[in-house]
């Protein structure tokens, strides 16, 4: 079982890094974009012995407490059998 976690800044939180990327794209001569927001992506291999329900609960906890900073970030967890 594999899990993917996407961590992004909450909507409305300033993203200086995204802005810098946008700026770099524009400076490179492209006018194709209006805004960029960046985040983090995790691929996680789940321990084989774990039951799917338990795995989901545990991964959710990990994503909430370790992979993201709930003060300013949201996360999305996807699990693939």
């Amino acid at each position: 079982m594999k899990a993917e976690v996407y961590v992004t800044l909450k909507r409305g939180v300033l993203d200086p890094q995204g802005k810098a990327i946008q700026h770099a794209i524009e400076a490179n001569g492209s006018d194709a974009i209006a805004a960029v927001r960046q985040g983090k992506y995790f691929e996680i291999e789940v321990a084989p012995a774990l039951e799917p329900a338990a795995a989901r609960a545990e991964l959710d906890r990990i994503a909430r407490e370790i992979l993201s900073n709930p003060v300013i970030e949201d996360y999305r967890l996807e699990i693939h059998e």
Binding site: R11, G12, V13, L14, P16, A20, P70, V71, I72
Partner: protein
Amino acid sequence: MQQPFTPEVIAEHGLTPSEYDRIVELLERHPTIVELGIFSVMWSEHCSYKSSRVHLKRLPTTGECVVQGPGENAGIVDIGEGYTVAFKIESHNHPSFIEPFQGAATGVGGILRDIFTMGARPIAAMNSLHFGDIDSQGTRRVADGVVRGIGHYGNCFGVPTIGGEVHFSDRYEKNPLVNAFALGIMKRDQIFLGKAEGVGNPVIYVGAKTGRDGIHGATMASAEFDDEALEKRPTVQVGDPFLEKLLLEACLEAMRSGAVVGIQDMGAAGLTCSTCEMGFRGGTGVEIELDLVPQRETGMTPYEIMLSESQERMLLVASHGRAREVIEIFHKWELDAVVVGRVTDDGKMRVLEHGEVVAEIPNVFLTDEAPVYHRPLARPEGEVVLELLHDALDVDAEGALLELLASPNIASKEWVYDQYDHMVRTNTVVLPGSDAAVLRVKETRKALAMTLDSNARYCEIDPRLGVMHAVAEAARNLSVTGARPLAVTNCMNFASPERPETMWQFSETIDGMSEACRAFDTPVTGGNVSFYNETDGRGIFPTPVIGMVGLIDDPKHVTTQWFAKEGHAVVLIGDETPALGGSEYLATVRGVLTGPLPGLDLDREKAVQEAVRTAITDELIVSAHDCSDGGIAVALAECCFSSYRLPAVGATVDLDFGLDAITTLFGEAPSRVIASAPVGAVAKIAEICRRIGVPCRQVGIVGGDRLRIDVRGATSVDVRVADLESAWRSRIAAAMAVGR
């Protein structure tokens, strides 16, 4: 008209029912929701100083060197040769608990803007930090985030973080204190104020776009924490130090162009505060159209735009007909700059959306007419024991010294300041670690010394005397580097003003601070009050932080604390009798907070400092160190330790104060300085001290690799300096590394 808001909505805005009634009385109608939000932030404790104003008036705020006292974005003092410095300290306590990294970072960003909005280029930053018990997981999380956040913002912006103080006590466990200080320099004739002058002049919004961040931050900063604090998280803002650097350069360039009339940063209460305060100070009104405000997000309401605390924004007033010129400067620095309104003659802040008025309030209602409370005062009862423990002296002196040196309050803070760039701009003369930081002022022949000092444990026992000790120590820290103290900025961190005990502590603190600042002729040029520092009903220690700035006329006289050479004499200047009350020794070795505090004779203190400064400018003294927390034994050990300049060296010292060994070694007293000097200079130092009326005597000699202290002829301490230094140097880094 029907009452438009429920009692719950009014309460959520931090307004009491009687405050709401007062708003209706002033406006002669009910406010709109936008106006309610505006009153809510402007009448919050954070912006209005409603509980503290009546007391703050008692502080001395004028003096020969003061160019700008309290009431502006920062205080300004004259340093001669046509130059002035702007400096201020401000708290960012509550945001730093909720999100330590961004909270501390934006605290640094805010204080830097306060400095450059006056026209000054920031050249130094410092911080006063108070955290919980160093060995708790919560403290590690907060301290790690705060220190990284300070380093991130200061390092990216390009200002050296050159000093400060760090304290640990379980009283700050869920309510850390993060007080950020900044100092900038400018020519005396290039000072800018936050005034909207000249009816018809354009009002220009510059800097970052407005987003939904930090809405109601100012109200949050005035609310006690409880377990719901974590739910308040989305109000934290994220800062962008690179953008702030652009804003600095653009603002200074615009100011030099001569087209800027007045300027103010948007800090707490953002656009609201800058609009009404600039109009109020200028005796004018300001009208703005929200459709013109640059926005980061779509669909923002007038309420959100007015209350947003997005960082790195400024509001400025340009001369008539010169808006284009100002805007072009900001565009050159890739910053938004838009005319959003104009200066009017009606004394009101008027906010329009699509041409319709959504808020219209006379400025005076939000400033001078804001509530002022004479809150009741009551001395706390029976919380502090004023008797010493009988067995306090029954301790092995060597073990106690090692334990004290490894106490987080005394131990080396290099884990903290190693994360800061303290050399950028290449003017730093004395790096962090000595009594005060020193910066060369390239524009003049002079150097500036600066320090942050507090002694919350003393203030818990006796706030009036405690803060006097803090002021005296700040002045002493400057004097031992060779600097003459000039002026003070203060950050008053207290618990809830709704408790009479807190207000008594606050009032006593103001009286003590006033007396001490008058004695040293160091007026208070500004600062900040932070109330409601409590969690689950338990308050912090009363924690007034003193930021003091001093001047060194000739940088070659800059002195540090470290013993320099074998064979030099160890000289003790001042002979106040030490006492254990309130000491670090009792707190660390015995685990108790108990008084009475050592006394303080301000005339004696001034004389000791004058003697030390004279001996430094006469080039007699090689090193000088303030003798405070942990007593003379700790001070001697610190003089022996290695520094960025010198290797460690030992000393042999013989003390006789007519007291037992423990009180002699670890008792604390003001008005004492440990100096070192060539043996041949001792008689001349003694002569200076005699002339000024200060006791002075040689107590030992520098040399060897051990610190040996005899008390009244009997050896109490005889340890390798390397062992003392490793206990002192490793403590904080080790605690922070737990769990890594």
